[in-house]
C-alpha cells in the first residue's frame, strides 16, 4: 500500500501538485489536495489499468479540490460576506446612487512579451489571494477550476442567486485590483 503511494508520488506527485496549485493558488492547500488524493486512491481500488495512473489520480484530485474549497468556504465566518440581498451597499465602491460607474473601467494593457506576461500573471495571482476568503473559494471553483454552477451550489449549500452575486463581487474586486496594480507597458 505504502509502496503504491510511494510510486505514485515519485511518478506523478509533482504533476498532481502543480495541477492542484494551479487551481487552488495556495501551496499548503495544494499539498493537502495531493494527500487527500493518495488516501482516496488506496481506499478506492478503482484503478482499472484501462486509463493511465496519472489520468485516474487526476480524476480523484479534481474532486478533492472541490472538497477543499468547500471547507475553505464553510470555515469562513458569514461576516465575510455581509448580506446578499439586492438592496445591499457593497457595490457603493463602484457605482453612484443612480447606478453609474464611479471609475469607468478601461481595458487592460495585455502583456506583449514574456517578462511582462510573467509580471501580469504575478499581479493576477496576488489579486486573487487578496479576495475575501469566501469569495476566493467560490471564484476559484467557478472561474479557475471551471466547476458547474449547479455543483457549486450543491457543494457550498447556497442558492444560484447567491452564487451569481458572490461571483459578481469577486470578479468586480479582481478587475479593480488588476486596474490598480497593473499599469501595463
Amino acid at each position: 500500500m505504502v509502496d503504491n503511494v510511494n510510486n505514485w508520488l515519485n511518478d506523478h506527485g509533482d504533476y498532481l501538485y502543480r495541477f492542484a496549485l494551479a487551481r487552488l493558488r495556495d501551496p499548503h492547500l495544494a499539498e493537502d489536495a495531493v494527500q487527500e488524493t493518495m488516501l482516496a486512491a488506496i481506499k478506492s481500488n478503482s484503478f482499472k489499468g484501462d486509463s493511465s495512473a496519472r489520468t485516474w489520480l487526476t480524476g480523484i484530485l479534481k474532486h478533492k479540490i472541490i472538497d477543499l474549497q468547500r471547507k475553505q468556504f464553510r470555515e469562513q465566518p458569514i461576516s465575510d460576506l455581509i448580506d446578499l440581498d439586492a438592496s445591499d451597499t457593497s457595490m457603493d465602491d463602484f457605482f453612484d446612487q443612480s447606478g453609474h460607474w464611479l471609475d469607468k473601467p478601461q481595458t487592460f494593457n495585455m502583456p506583449d512579451n514574456t517578462l511582462e506576461q510573467k509580471q501580469f500573471l504575478g499581479v493576477l495571482d496576488t489579486c486573487m489571494n487578496k479576495l475575501p476568503k469566501k469569495l476566493k473559494a467560490i471564484f476559484m471553483l467557478r472561474d479557475v477550476h471551471e466547476t458547474d454552477n449547479e455543483i457549486i451550489c450543491k457543494e457550498l449549500d447556497i442558492t444560484a442567486t447567491n452564487a451569481w452575486v458572490m461571483l459578481y463581487r469577486a470578479r468586480m474586486g479582481l478587475r479593480k485590483c488588476l486596474e490598480l496594480n497593473w499599469t501595463g507597458a
Binding site: M1, G13, Y17, R18, M38, L39, L124
Partner: protein, 82 residues
Amino acid sequence: MLTCKQASQLVSQSLDRPLSWRELVQLRFHLLICNACRHFKQQLNQLLIAIEQLKNETVLDQTIQLSTDAKTKILQVIESNP
C-alpha cells in the same frame, strides 16, 4: 433602460447562466451606447484568458515540485491510516 450597475451584473451572470431574451436585448442595447460597460465586459474576458494562462504556466513549470517534506508527510499519514 438598464443602469451600468445592472448591466455589469448581467455581463457577469452571462458567464454563469443563459440570459433571458429580454435581458439579452436590454444588455446589447446598453453595451451599444456605453463604453464603460463594454470595457467591463472586455476586462472579464481578459481576466478569464489570463487565468487560463496562469493555470497553464503553473502546470507546465517543472521547477514547481512537491517538496520532499510534503512527500514524507503524506507517506506517514498513509502508514498511520488503517
